[in-house]
């Protein structure tokens, strides 16, 4: 097909022809075309089927407000549905397809739904598919979803990459039409850091679509010169193809830049960038959107907005029709007639709803005064219009103008509500704009070119940016508008929301059924809820609702405008946060060693930790874990425990500070000693635990659990700055600085003697349980040694600067060879702490108190510490409160399940009979059967009792015996050995 409707002129590059396909058919266009302008140039008027009734639809607008012409672009994984043909930039090889039809576009089998429309009016599914109820999910909803809809997703991973970024400016100008260009130029010449953003690929806004002159030359040329001036300035950043989609608090704006959507191949670069723009001030110069007038069958391909028709002719050199009638309630519609006629397009009639003389003298066209279009004919494209007086006019395009709505959207993204202006019959920005924002030009209701230029400059002059050069000269073209929202004499269906197929009748029905508030109207009819958010539909629908209720339009109100202004792909919101880089990951210092030695890793927060180290011949993880536990308990095991939080605490008041943040006493801890500490929340619930070592008089190092490392630090800073600001205490995290290894088991001392330099006496007398100190290892490398144990064995933790961590793991294993030392992972660590009865995350779960944990006596009442007052509330120290105890199954072969609840033998499984719950379970290779820790009402007094551990979720029930939580070495002899 050739470009049958290409006419002269336009701002396209005719020297280059590019080929694209639509539904497989090869067509041609030029650089500078949109898909829509190229389709029109090629005579393709039918471009899609409507959402609900599968009505034939064409191109309705020339911008991002397009409700109809949604297409699928590209193939395979890159397929993108619901792209507006009016904003898609044409490129060589573009593959576009129409949406929402079965069979060919010209003969959609689903068009039968249109015949059923009497049954499918607003709210039909609330009524029609009420009964039988069970049919909804199984039959009705899938059938409706199948029948209605938009484009299809590829179902594959998005092959494109996306990015985000942050920009700062003194002034953000949103929109590059006359007002935006003037604002940007004025501020930029005054030295401001300016960002000028426009959703279009060609900057200039409506200047590119009009024949109006600026300073005696074509407006589009003036725009191009101004853009060139701005582009050459180092303090200006031009962001074309960029939609500012949201105005957020304190001058933060969201913007989506489409970097490579106009290219056949992104070349491995981000397809889109989501910018967060920090703007001290902003000028919203987003222009205005034309609105239609509703009349019978006003949705046929060929019925278009008048400003769009003019834009296709002027900017793209395309005739949307060869015989074009104008239907307008305002002066602006006449300019479409004038521009078309100037380009040799026949305009048989201008139908003006107003009973007044023509604002423009246009010989060669007929002026129909006080006229209106009642109906249209033409199955897949407009052939004829019928006026309310019965006369019929053969046309292939009808340009409709119902006036212009200022694009107030971003003014409403915080608290602003638009204000009605009778003289424009439109909403304009109200008060309460986002702080720092001013509105200029058509977006502010200044609909003439001259006014737009004046306002653009004035807006930034008010901010203190001056430009003494004279304002460009431009006319204030006539813009009178007399409201007319729909043609009352039309009997056929008159469409308001073309994308969601909402008609005038639907609005009237909503009124009759009591859905009169705008928010109800919207939800009942789905008006404005499509991807275009009703940019062309909402105001006419509101006006019709106002007519029905007898209220004014401002009394009827508007729905809220929320971000985004136009759709933002989820991929852009995700940015680069995909796959392995969804969030940062942290590696332990011995990660490489672990990887080379059979480790299976587990994610613990952001950390990757070795879970176990499989050896050849082991059938499954249990074999490996059992072996690691047995080796540690009988000889020596080594575990990387770097992930525990380490906080360096210094200051003259450090001891006092620790005494207040831990519930147990720390004031008396001697230098060279370590103490276990339990932290409470202020409400008395146990929060975190760990050990703190006193390295010197005023120097401590605290350890926290891996999970709470960040939040403990935060709380300590809170206590330091907000509660006791005059204590001399200083905190700094050293978690990542020290590679720390647990060396546990009866041979741990023997092993460490081979690694720790000889000047440190490791004998039990010189370095007893809970000792700590600075040592050197491997001939002088500084290290810290702590004699602490999580496993219950004689154990140490040795820390070296992290850079030596990987080597240290190898050294410890090498030194441990003679003892058959093994590395162990988090599973064995967990098994051993359960065997020893140590509480961990499953027990410190935000519900349990020290009393529940069996550590109630640790909570000192002789000092002020966080949580001690509220920990003594009667409810928290009840005699019958749950207490941490151990459990073993009566049948040694039985398994235990964490989360199971305890019931007395014979008691029914009800909440009233609930006695507590199992928090941690493991298979104990030391004991040869399952063991568990759990919370049981009055647990400490119930040793030996037999209960049922019931898990309704798993459908299991196991008889268990209540035992001490210290399954291994209850007297702690091994620790101190």
């Amino acid at each position: 097909m050739s470009q049958v409707n290409r006419i002269t002129g336009g701002r396209i590059d005719r020297s280059t022809q590019i080929a694209f396909t639509f539904n497989g058919k090869v067509m041609h266009g030029h650089p500078g075309d949109t898909l829509a302008s190229a389709l029109l140039a090629n005579g393709q008027r039918l471009v899609g089927r409507s959402f609900k009734y599968h009505r034939p639809r064409g191109i309705f607008t020339a911008g991002s407000e397009e409700p109809n012409a949604l297409v699928e672009l590209r193939r395979g994984a890159a397929q993108e549905p619901n792209t507006r043909a009016t904003t898609a930039e044409l490129f060589d090889g573009l593959d576009a397809r129409s949406q929402n039809h079965r069979g060919p576009l010209g003969f959609d089998f689903m068009a039968v739904t249109d015949l059923l429309s009497p049954f499918l009016a607003a709210g039909f599914y609330y009524k029609t598919f009420m009964w039988p109820r069970a049919f909804w999910e199984k039959l009705y909803e899938p059938a409706i979803r199948d029948a209605a809809g938009l484009g299809r997703l590829s179902g594959q991973d998005d092959p494109d990459i996306y990015d985000k970024g942050y920009l700062h400016c003194d002034l953000l100008v949103i929109g590059s039409g006359p007002a935006g260009l003037m604002a940007a130029r004025t501020a930029a010449r005054a030295g401001a850091r300016v960002i000028l953003a426009d959703e279009d690929f060609a900057l200039g806004g409506r200047l590119n679509a009009e024949t109006l002159a600026v300073d005696g030359r074509a407006g589009a040329d003036w725009a191009a010169e101004t853009v060139a001036e701005l582009a050459a300035m180092s303090n200006v950043r031009l962001l074309g193809r960029t939609t500012v989609y949201g105005a957020y608090d304190h001058g933060v704006y969201g913007a989506l830049e489409r970097c490579t959507d106009h290219l056949a191949d992104s070349g491995g670069k981000p397809r889109q960038v989501l910018w967060r723009i920090y703007a001290k001030r902003a000028v919203l110069a987003a222009g205005a959107t034309e609105r239609p007038i509703a009349f019978g069958n006003n949705d046929r391909p060929g019925v278009m907005l008048a400003g769009a028709v003019r834009a296709y002719a002027n900017r793209w050199g395309v005739a949307p029709g060869r015989r074009v009638a104008i239907f307008s309630n305002n002066d602006d519609g006449w300019r479409t007639a004038a521009d078309l006629m100037a380009r040799g397009i026949e305009v048989p009639a201008v139908i003006d709803s107003r009973d007044r003389a023509a604002p423009l003298d246009l010989p060669g066209t007929r002026h129909v005064r006080a006229g209106a279009v009642a109906d249209t004919q033409g199955r897949k494209g407009l052939r004829r219009i019928t006026l309310t007086d019965g006369q019929m006019i053969d046309v292939d395009c009808l340009a409709v103008s119902g006036g212009w709505n200022p694009n107030v959207h971003l003014t409403c993204h915080q608290r602003g509500r638009p204000a009605w202006r009778d003289d424009l019959s439109a909403f304009v920005p109200g008060g309460d704009l986002p702080p720092g924002m001013v509105v200029a030009g058509a977006a502010n209701g200044a609909l003439t070119l001259g006014a737009a230029l004046r306002e653009g400059r004035a807006a930034v002059e008010a901010m203190g940016y001056a430009d003494k050069t004279p304002l460009p000269e431009a006319e204030d073209e006539p813009r009178d508008c007399a409201p007319m929202w729909h043609v009352k004499d039309s009997r056929a269906r008159a469409w308001l929301d073309l994308q969601n197929d909402v008609t005038v009748k639907d609005v009237k029905q909503a009124h009759q059924e009591g859905f009169r508030a705008v928010e109800h109207l919207k939800r009942y009819t789905t008006l404005g809820m499509a991807t275009d958010q009703g940019k062309t539909a909402n105001i006419p629908a509101l006006a019709i609702m106002a007519e029905c209720t007898g209220k004014t339009i401002p009394e009827t109100g508007t729905t809220m405008f929320r971000p985004p202004y136009t759709p933002v792909p989820i991929g852009a919101l995700a940015g680069r946060a995909r796959g392995r880089h969804f969030r940062p990951y942290r590696l332990t210092p011995s990660h490489d060693w672990a990887k080379a030695n059979g480790a299976t890793f587990v994610e613990v927060g952001n950390w990757l930790r070795a879970q176990w180290f499989a050896r050849p011949g082991e059938a499954g993880w249990r074999d490996s874990v059992d072996r690691e536990v047995r080796t540690t308990r009988t000889s020596v095991g080594i575990c990387d425990v770097t992930t525990l939080g380490k906080i360096d605490i210094q200051g003259r008041d450090a001891a006092e500070f620790l005494n207040r943040v831990y519930c147990n006493g720390f004031a008396t801890l001697a230098v060279g000693k370590v103490r276990y500490g339990l932290m409470l929340r202020e409400d008395g619930v146990a929060y975190d635990d760990g050990t703190t070592a006193r390295l010197a008089e005023h120097h401590y190092v605290m350890t926290t659990t891996t999970a709470n490392a960040v939040t403990v630090f935060r709380r300590l800073e809170f206590a330091r700055q907000c509660l006791w600001p005059d204590l001399d205490v200083h905190l700094i995290s050293t978690t990542d600085g020290w590679a720390q290894f647990a060396v546990a088991g009866p041979k741990s001392r023997d092993l460490l003697r081979k690694v720790v330099d000889a000047d440190q006496d490791l004998s039990n007398e010189a370095f007893p349980f809970m000792a700590c100190g600075a040592v050197t290892v491997c001939g002088g490398t500084p290290a810290r040694l702590f004699r602490i144990s999580f496993s219950g064995e004689m154990a140490y933790e040795i820390a070296v600067p992290a850079r030596y961590g990987n080597a240290m793991m190898g050294v410890l294993m090498e030194a441990g060879k003679e003892f058959d030392a093994c590395p162990y992972g988090t599973e064995a660590l967990g098994v051993m702490r359960i065997e020893k009865g140590h509480a961990a995350g499953n027990e410190l779960d935000g519900r349990n108190t020290a009393h529940n944990l069996g550590m109630g006596r640790m909570v000192s009442q002789k000092k002020d510490c966080i949580g001690n007052v509220l920990s003594q509330r009667p409810e928290m120290i009840r005699e019958d409160a749950v207490q941490l105890v151990g459990f073993r199954p009566v049948d040694p072969e039985a398994r235990l399940i964490a989360g199971a609840h305890f019931l007395d033998t014979g008691a029914e499984a009800t909440m009233d009979n609930d006695q507590g719950w199992m928090s941690s379970v493991a298979h104990s290779p030391t004991l040869g059967h399952a063991i568990g820790l759990g919370f049981l009402a009055r647990g400490a007094a119930r040793m030996g009792e037999i209960l049922r551990a019931v898990s309704p979720v798993h459908g299991t029930e196991t008889e268990v015996v209540v035992v001490s939580p210290h399954f291994v070495d209850p007297e702690g002899e091994r620790l101190r050995g």
Binding site: R276, H581, Y585, I732, G737, P782, A802
Partner: protein
Amino acid sequence: MADFTLTSWPPLAGTDMTLAGVRLWAPTDLAVVSLALPLGREDAAMAAIKAAHGTALPEIGKSVVTADGVRLIRLAPDLAFAVFTHATPDAERVVAERLGGAVYTTEQTDVWVALGLSGPDARRALERICMLDLHSDAFAVDDAARTVMEHLGVLILRTGADDYLLLSASSSAMSFLHALETSLRNIA
């Protein structure tokens, strides 16, 4: 005894690449020591720092390079970092000895990894991950700030017109490198 030797293995050692005309590299042997000023004895602490380095602690958000090549970075009223080239794992001791106990010092060398970024488009790459305004009017040479990039805490320093030094936690070094490398690739 001492049959074993420990080899140093910093996470990003050897990183040096040029992308988009920007050099991305990991400086070797960069030591970091934190300096906390004792409450109520700040003047003595500041005097000790000045005596030791010949230069006073700069204002918050600024850094200064002393005659002996130590970059002193003031991060908060009572906190500064000393960053300097020092290969052995005793940077804290070296700094502490010069300050004679007037300042609380903590070894931070292995807590951090550093990446340098040099080239005319360095700022354009950082725009993709750094929410701070790095325009020279807002972030001049020797300015320093702690912020977040790609969920990672980062200390960013401007060391020259087109030169930056960034420090982030050593455990997440691979994510840190990925963040910067991706930023460069995306603007290349």
